[in-house]
């Protein structure tokens, strides 16, 4: 279903995903959580089991809060934005990143994806952060709304595993 209008292609136009090929595996699920811990944006690649990913993201929020409070004693600025591996499961690993405005990015990657190094995760979070700030700069975006920016979607798509 590589092409075709009906394809479940994530936004971003027609994707020339080659079925069966081995595209660079990236994130399986990416979520942007607002300060009040409700999701601003959540998307996962495998169309099935989305609920599972949602649940994983939800549980990871506790870990994020824990990490924030742990180093939150000092000034917020001193706290590093990248939280690192929040917790691993046998299938997936969850990474976290929090901005200074307490907006959290959570990324779930496949455990079998051993090629992903920490700095790659960091760069992915950085891209997420950049795109998020771009969304914020849009005067038509009301903070707290769900993120519906196409540019953001495109960027997230580029980071997610390309499954046909």
């Amino acid at each position: 279903m590589g092409r075709g209008l009906g394809g479940r292609v994530t936004s971003g136009g027609s994707r020339d995903a080659v079925p069966g090929a081995g595209p660079p595996k990236m994130a399986v699920c990416i979520a942007v959580i607002a300060k009040e811990n409700y999701p601003l944006y959540i998307r996962s690649t495998p169309t099935e089991n989305e609920l599972k990913f949602h649940y994983m993201v939800h549980t990871s929020l506790d870990v994020v809060d824990e990490k924030i409070s742990a180093m939150g004693k000092a000034l917020v600025d001193q706290r590093e934005l990248y939280l690192g591996l929040l917790y691993p499961t046998e299938d997936y690993k969850v990474y976290g990143y929090v901005t200074n405005s307490k907006v959290k990015f959570v990324m779930v990657v496949d455990s079998s994806n051993t090629a992903l190094r920490d700095n790659e995760i960091r760069s992915m979070f950085r891209k997420l952060h950049n795109s998020y700030t771009d969304v914020m700069c849009n005067p038509f975006y009301n903070p707290g709304d769900r993120i519906q920016s196409r540019a953001f979607d495109n960027m997230v798509t580029s980071m997610m595993i390309q499954v046909c």
């Binding site: 891209k127 950049n130 771009d134 849009n138 975006y141």
Partner: protein
């Protein structure tokens, strides 16, 4: 697929197209190439085309049979109408407009257009024209007429062959159909709308050019039977069409402004850039945008803040989501504000969207912010700005037309800034900007990153010494041990002198020892002492002594005996054969001990400085060598030795009283007592002696200073110069090892320490000797008495 039913119009149209593609006149199979061209002309995404081909079975068959072709055409219509491509849709979709194909510009098209408008024959010929590959050609202002044509076409279905139609005719109906079609969301073909109409209109443009030059809108195009289709076609055309088109023709289209301007500009545009870029902004549009910009931000080089832009564009009644997307596209630098270029692009996109064009995923190149030469904008008949956009966004979409991208416009050449804009935009959305930014933080200011090591002067320079002295002045008074604490880094000579000064200052031997013990522990003070003494002397010769530097890092070589020290010692010993202050604190010959402390001790710290003091110190300061001292030392040594060797013990007391007699002496005594004085006259004696020799040894200055009463001491020093000269010289020589390196300091300090120890030893020795002298004298007296007593007996 088999059950394809076509309407008559469709049938005709399809057959025309088929015959067009059927260049080989096989009547059976059309040439794939042509078909592909045709499909490309349909402005459908490639994947859609492929899907169509799949569905119609062509891929299966490998060729386009008539049925396949017809099905394909039908699917094209379906796709262009926005319906999902399904096999069933070919029959289920009712009222499907004819598939639209972008026509290239060539005479055929014009012919085609003309012919097509009327009857089947025309249609036939038209079909022959239509398939040509999409020729964007001059859609530009052709687009202007486009809009007007649309309405017109809708209104006058079959215009007779005159392609040139006055715009006035078009207005009436076009809006309706046009609007209707604007509602026709082209399923997913963002390009379709734009590209389609454009090229198609080009022929009209051409046709019109020939005809009514002034007529902006050449509604000359007679759409195929289903005029709606054409209208819709026109709908899709590049926004420029809309813009220019709408002109007043469309009833209340406020686009009047553009229309009017369009009319005049059409010709210009038509002739202008031939590239059919649907997103290009016409000059009128541009001017309109600029005027709108001015209403918000008078400064054309300024920014429109996001909030103001939000209000402005919200008036267009577009859904927020779309406005958000438009913003994303147009805010090139992602700064939350719109420059003139960005604003124009946003405006243009809004108008395009209003007119039914889908928003592109990426900002079209023609809309990329460039520095536009405002003077360059084409003459605009009437300023489009005033009319309506801000006022009545609610008006029919056509009112927005002004912003529709025209097909032609005279974009000024990219200038520097535009290039910068573009490059910026390329990077703006990538994380590279941020990461680059981050990474740039470090190298951004290499200068700051580079820390130039500040050279720390280890060897005491004149100034340095002065500083040290100055520093020391303050501390010495309070710290009796300071004399001893003179930094070994300072000239060893001074250190020696300091120690000797301390000696003389009455820090008794014990003090001397204690001070010597603490000597090394507090080299800073010593150094400061030295410095102070230096400054003392230095001030007179050199009043520009800078403030005392912070405590100098103690030379690590305090303990090490540097070669210099050795050299110094050797020289010293050489010159002072008496082993003045032999490296090991061996008991030097008396004269030297007496002499050494003298000059060392007697060093007034006063700024006035002893003359000799100054004389020696300057010598020392610049050279830091003992050489100068040596010379003096020799002189003094000779004199002193001669003087003192005779009756050193006596001298000392004499010196003492002499000193005491003199005010300076008393003051010195006072100073001694002040400093620490443990009242050892013996100690004081040598101290005085050393004081006397002060002038010889600048180093003692600091110590003496501590003793204070510098001024008074000075004269003493002069007095005792000679006496203590040797001593001073000796002392001076020893410590006056040039400290070329910090390590020398340690060596010097070590030598100073040794010298001090020697001094103490000598002082003790001195006292003992004096005691012995006294005893001996007493014995002598007693013996003489006895002798005399005995003598009479002898006479008896």
């Amino acid at each position: 697929m088999e059950g394809l039913t076509l309407s008559d119009a469709e049938q005709k149209y399809y057959s025309d197209l088929f015959s067009y593609c059927d260049i080989e006149s096989t009547k059976k199979v059309v040439v794939n190439g042509r078909v592909l061209e045709l499909f490309r002309a349909a402005q459908l995404p490639n994947d859609v085309v492929l899907q169509i081909m799949e569905l119609c079975g062509a891929t299966r068959l490998g060729y386009f049979g008539r049925s396949q072709f017809y099905i394909a055409l039908k699917l094209v219509a379906v796709a262009q109408s926005g319906f999902p491509l399904r096999v069933e849709s070919i029959n289920t979709v009712k009222d499907l407009p004819l598939p639209r194909f972008v026509a290239s510009k060539n005479e055929q098209e014009s012919r085609h257009a003309a012919s097509y408008s009327s009857d089947s024959e025309n249609q036939g010929s038209y079909s022959g024209v239509i398939p040509p590959p999409p020729g964007r050609g001059q859609v530009k202002k052709g687009s202007v007429s486009h809009d007007t044509v649309q309405p017109r076409t809708s209104a006058d279905a079959q215009e007779p062959a005159s392609p040139v139609v006055s715009p006035q005719q078009s207005p009436p109906t076009s809006p309706h159909t046009w609007r209707k079609h604007s509602r026709h969301p082209s399923g997913g073909n963002s390009e379709r709308p734009l590209a389609g109409p454009g090229p198609f209109w080009s022929p009209f443009g051409e046709a019109q050019s020939g005809s009514s030059a002034g007529d902006a809108v050449w509604s000359g195009h007679s759409p195929p039977p289903p005029q709606e289709n054409w209208v819709s076609f026109a709908d899709t055309p590049p926004t420029s069409t809309l813009l220019t088109m709408h002109p007043a023709s469309v009833q209340d289209q406020t686009t009047v402004r553009t229309v009017a301007s369009a009319t005049t500009a059409i010709e210009i545009r038509r002739q202008s850039s031939s590239y059919d870029d649907p997103w290009k902004i016409t000059d009128e549009q541009r001017q309109y945008y600029v005027n709108q910009f001015k209403t918000i931000q008078p400064d054309l080089n300024g920014f429109i803040p996001g909030s103001a832009a939000k209000e402005f564009f919200t008036k267009s009644k577009l859904p927020i989501l779309e406005l958000s997307h438009i913003w994303e596209l147009s805010d090139f630098d992602k700064d939350g504000a719109l420059t003139l270029d960005e604003f124009c692009a946003a405006f243009h996109l809004v108008v395009a969207r209003k007119n039914g064009y889908d928003l592109p995923e990426k900002l079209p190149e023609s809309l990329m912010p460039k520095l536009i030469d405002l003077e360059d904008s084409a003459d605009v008949g009437d300023q489009p700005g005033e009319v309506g956009y801000s006022g009545s966004p609610a008006e029919a979409p056509p009112s927005k037309s002004p912003s529709m991208p025209s097909l032609n416009q005279t974009w000024p050449e990219l200038n520097q800034s535009s290039e910068q804009w573009e490059t910026f935009s390329e990077r703006s959305s990538s994380s590279q900007t941020l990461t680059q930014f981050d990474s740039n933080i470090a190298p951004a200011d290499p200068d700051t990153a580079i820390v130039h090591p500040v050279p720390i002067r280890m060897t005491p320079s004149k100034i340095h010494m002065q500083e040290m002295e100055l520093k020391r002045t303050g501390s010495d008074h309070t710290n009796p041990t300071s004399p001893l604490l003179v930094k070994p880094s300072d000239l060893s000579e001074e250190n020696k002198i300091n120690s000797s000064v301390k000696f003389a200052s009455g820090n008794t031997v014990a003090d001397g020892y204690s001070s010597s013990d603490s000597f090394t522990s507090d080299p800073e003070q010593i150094g400061s002492n030295v410095t102070r003494q230096r400054s003392h002397s230095g001030t007179s010769p050199d009043n520009t002594a800078p403030p005392p530097p912070p405590p100098r890092p103690q030379p690590s070589h305090s303990r090490s005996s540097s070669l210099d020290m050795n050299r110094t010692f050797t020289v010293t010993t050489g010159q002072q054969q008496a082993g003045v202050v032999a490296h090991p604190p061996a008991v030097p010959p008396r004269p030297q001990p007496s002499q050494a402390p003298g000059p060392a001790v007697h060093r007034p710290v006063d700024a006035d400085g002893l003359i000799t003091h100054t004389s020696t110190s300057p010598q020392q300061i610049p050279e830091q060598p003992n050489f100068a001292d040596f010379s003096q030392f020799e002189v003094f040594a000779a004199s002193n030795v001669n003087d003192e060797q005779d009756d050193e013990a006596e001298k000392h007391p004499e010196v003492l009283p002499a000193e005491k007699a003199s005010d300076p002496a008393s003051s010195l005594r006072v100073a001694k007592t002040d400093s620490k004085t443990e009242e050892k006259t013996a100690a004081s004696a040598p101290a005085n002696v050393s004081k006397g020799t002060t002038p010889l040894a600048p180093p003692p200055k600091p110590i003496r200073r501590r003793l204070k009463s510098e001024d008074e001491l000075r004269p003493e020093v002069d007095e005792h110069t000679q006496k203590t000269g040797v001593l001073a010289a000796v002392l001076a020589s020893q410590p006056s090892i040039p400290r070329s390196v910090g390590k020398d300091k340690k060596a010097i300090q070590a030598s100073i320490r040794r010298n001090k120890e020697t001094n103490t030893v000598l002082a003790r020795l001195n006292s003992e000797l004096q005691q012995q002298l006294k005893d001996v004298l007493e014995e002598r007296i007693s013996l003489e008495v006895q002798l005399e007593q005995l003598r009479p007996f002898s006479h008896l």
